[in-house]
Symmetry: C2
């Protein structure tokens, strides 16, 4: 059911290339842009063009940035010897939002997912090992003392964490991972067996 004017078909094709956007959604977006004030479409067009021209990855931590090194790696008040490894920039922002990590980050740009065709070499694991073994590759030239694995507690996240622990072992760096157990605010009643297993394994002494 094609048949729109060529510029509309071209826009639909470009929108359909985006993840999760089919022909129907592309149509809704295109019509919105045609109905809305032209400034809105012009701003979207300019923003899309600008982001690919100006934004890249930090050469040290692979976070999105428009300066090198990124705003976090270049801060002198961060513990640059403590590197928290996350899968994606969004996870980094979530942790930054807590204000509880005063170290730096390393963004893997994904996780090992054999079914999805993502192997270790598709991630920034090599760069992480380099940072750990050669301080000159780390932010501010500081030697890395601890690597915190901040991967999602999923099958792929766990596999990635396991792989990272293995490739980092020869470096002798301290490798830790985020705690697992009951989510704050959740109810024990609805916790799955896997969550309860984590909670039991990781049980801690109650301070008296």
């Amino acid at each position: 059911m094609r048949g729109y004017p060529e510029p509309v078909e071209r826009l639909l094709a470009a929108l359909e290339r985006l993840p999760g956007i089919g022909r129907r959604t592309a149509g809704r977006l295109a019509f919105h842009l045609l109905k809305a004030p032209p400034e809105e479409a012009r701003e979207l067009s300019a923003a899309v063009a600008a982001v690919v021209e100006t934004v890249g990855c930090c050469g040290t931590c692979w976070h999105l940035t428009d300066v090198q090194p990124c705003a976090i790696c270049s801060r002198h008040d961060r513990q640059r010897g403590c590197v928290l490894v996350v899968e994606q920039p969004r996870d980094l922002l979530g942790i930054e939002g807590t204000g509880l990590h005063d170290g730096v980050y390393h963004v893997l740009m994904g996780r090992i997912d054999p079914l999805g065709g993502v192997g270790p070499s598709d991630l920034t694991i090599g760069a992480l090992v380099e940072r750990v073994t050669d301080p000159s590759c780390n932010a501010g030239g500081v030697a890395v003392a601890e690597v915190i694995l901040g991967l999602s507690p999923t099958l792929e996240g766990d596999a990635t964490a396991l792989h990272l622990a293995e490739v980092l072992r020869p470096t002798g760096v301290r490798v830790t991972r985020l705690a697992r157990g009951l989510s704050a605010g959740s109810s024990l009643e609805h916790a799955t067996a896997a969550v309860l297993a984590d909670a039991l394994h990781g049980r801690a002494s109650v301070a008296e």
Copy 2:
């Protein structure tokens, strides 16, 4: 949880203005554009810019077009005295897809929806009445002999059809509407009471 480089935030804001796109989806789209080959983002940017600069509405039927009048209104082999009224360009394409309408169209650009703040004056109803009363306003200067109401069989569609029938009555033009009843391929078992009522009211003699 803001904190991306400014060009990324700007792109997220532009994407979030689109219908049905929240912060999370905007993030997924933005990261896709950052990861994909830059040509993909450049093409999207150019397509969005081009569509608002080159595509507008046909001055006669309000269908999307990059020429005036549109490709359908300018065809001499269409019955330009028979105008099928639809809510939106997408509906027009659906009917064109059947190849069964050899007349022209009139796109209302929505439907009367008091709760959504859409009144008759927000639609192209005035232009439709003009087409019907003044042949020089219609495609090819042909007098309109029939207006087919092709609105969706919903509350808002029915209200819009009722309003159109009323404003067209003084013109004396023949006004018809698309048939209602059981959808081809559906099962009677799952038909709602409203569908069954339409099917009973509109029952037709079986040719013997």
